[in-house]
């Protein structure tokens, strides 16, 4: 991408964001809004810088919960998608269920998990993230392993290729873009799931705990500082996954095999 294209992509939203923040500041100051209603961006920023260490440690807790769940969920999801590919009957049983579960707010299960483990345990949150990531990865990767171009399969058959060769040379490379598409969906979802799970109870250490607790104590600017932390954490996860996806897309051209959501 040329510098000019980058500028064109970055400058307008940056200006919009700046105008938005300045407008917010002006509205708070102009109408003399009380801090418990809406703090000014300048107050939020100074709360953010004053509490930087606290926000960072809370973000690391949430980030670790999201990351552990993301990794374990991805590994299990990939493993399960191979089983689905291998056993058609399993595919018919699990696939509709997995698709349905992706449309249901299974996040509420975190309350059940909280009940199963000690109140100081991080396991319920990570379990919740794992579960949600698992189904996203499973549905997409199973699709990538199964939806191989018919011409490719005929070709491999004409070469008398073994099932192992068909798997490693056709199905797995075909499924790779599907995996990265799944990660692009799963990474931000993992962060959101970690926040919501922390909000549901358990140890009082993550962003999902500090945001509501500071609001409850009328420390609104501090709560907003944690919101900034949450935004930054979510963005980090998203950008890394987009970067990974764009690397694989670049090596396969504008129209890669698995350009689906």
């Amino acid at each position: 991408m040329s510098l000019r294209r980058v500028m064109q992509a970055v400058v307008p939203p940056a200006i919009f964001g700046l105008v938005f923040v300045l407008g917010w500041e002006a509205v708070v100051k102009g109408f003399d809004l009380k801090p418990y209603f809406l703090p000014a961006p300048s107050a939020i920023w100074s709360a953010f810088t004053d509490n930087l260490d606290l926000v960072r440690s809370a973000a690391l807790v949430s980030g670790e919960n999201a990351l552990v769940g993301l990794l374990v969920g991805t590994l299990l999801g990939v493993a399960a998608s191979f089983l689905l590919m291998r056993f058609q009957i399993l595919n018919e049983l699990v696939s509709p269920l997995a698709i349905a579960l992706n449309a249901v707010p299974i996040i509420v299960l975190v309350a059940v998990f909280q009940n199963m483990f000690a109140s100081t345990s991080e396991i319920p949150r990570r379990l919740m993230v794992t579960l949600i990531v698992f189904f996203i990865v499973l549905v997409n990767v199973a699709k990538g392993l199964r939806q191989v171009h018919p011409t490719h399969l005929e070709l491999m058959r004409s070469y008398a290729a073994s099932p192992a060769a068909i798997l490693t040379k056709t199905r797995i490379p075909n499924a790779l873009p599907y995996l990265f598409t799944a990660l692009k969906i799963a990474a931000p979802t993992a962060v959101i799931t970690a926040f919501v799970s922390e909000y549901f109870g358990g140890r009082q250490n993550g962003l999902g705990y500090f945001i509501p607790s500071n609001f409850a104590n009328s420390k609104n600017a501090v709560a907003w500082a944690y919101v900034i932390g949450a935004c930054l954490l979510g963005l980090t996860f998203y950008l890394v996954s987009v970067l990974l996806e764009s690397i694989i897309k670049q090596s396969r051209g504008a129209a890669p095999g698995g350009a689906t959501t």
Partner: protein
């Protein structure tokens, strides 16, 4: 030894089910080494099915198919043929040279030997400078040339092609036909070629097998004698036009028979 022997072959899909289809009936066909044979006929005449039977991608219901004097199944296991389809079917994630190397990889060739052969094949299809390109960086015609290079990489004696130029524009198509004949002459390959196009069949073939549908049968085999060196001028020769007319009339005969058959049935 004949390159291909199709011996009294019939193919029925969905046997004894309500949607039973008689795809091919009593096919007899012998193809000699070095011949270029086209299969032509209306949709549903079973020409692709016949090609797939020779490739052992499907099994005959009755009869048997010999390739290189072996069963079609053994010939497939020995990679005695290469195959090209309407879609080039290149693997997006492999470079052009690695696509051509794929059949050699599956044969267990070592890397240096594979690479050398892939480069020979790229010379043959006139794409030597595209070895490191990805398939999506190539035009449709270039992709199809890579697919032909891949099909011939292991130097199989037989090339099976299922409408390989069907998705190309007319200009590219004629150009590819010239190149295919040159490649086949250079490598001494026998070709079985499925097509919808009468001029394509006439230009390429030593013999054109005309087929009729429901069930698929061979109605006529037309010899085309355009001489050994076909070039662009061949397309304007009288022999070429006569061959086109002969194929067209054979195909018309099928249409008329089908209409009469339809009336008789009712």
């Amino acid at each position: 030894m004949s390159a291909v022997v199709v011996n009294n072959v019939s193919k029925v899909f969905n046997v004894d089910k309500p949607n039973q289809v008689d795809a091919l009936a009593e096919i007899e066909l012998v193809i000699e080494p070095g011949e270029f044979v086209s299969l032509i006929g209306p949709s549903g005449c079973g020409k692709s099915t016949l090609l797939r039977l020779i490739a052992n991608l499907t099994e005959p219901t009755i009869g048997d198919v010999l390739v290189n004097g072996k069963s079609a199944a053994q010939a497939r296991l020995d990679q005695d043929y290469g195959m090209a389809f309407q879609q080039a079917g290149l693997f997006d994630w492999r470079t052009v040279e690695k696509n051509i190397e794929l059949p050699l990889e599956l044969k267990g060739w070592d890397k240096a030997k594979r690479r050398a052969r892939a480069h020979d094949m790229l010379e043959l299809v006139k794409l030597p400078e595209f070895a490191r390109h990805m398939p999506w960086q190539l035009s449709g015609g270039m992709q199809q040339r890579v697919a032909i290079a891949r099909a011939l990489a292991a130097h199989p004696p037989l090339l099976l092609m299922d409408e390989p130029f069907g998705a190309l524009d007319e200009m590219t198509r004629e150009h590819m036909q010239v190149e295919l004949l040159q490649i086949c002459a250079a490598t001494d390959t026998t070709v079985v070629f499925v097509t919808h196009s009468i001029p394509e069949a006439a230009y390429l073939s030593d013999r054109v097998v005309v087929m009729s549908p429901r069930p698929g049968r061979i109605t006529e085999i037309i010899d085309v004698d355009l001489g050994s060196s076909r070039d662009e001028d061949t397309r304007e020769s009288d022999v070429f036009y006569d061959s086109i007319t002969a194929i067209r009339e054979a195909l018309r005969g099928i249409e008329h028979a089908a209409v009469r058959g339809g009336v008789d049935d009712r």
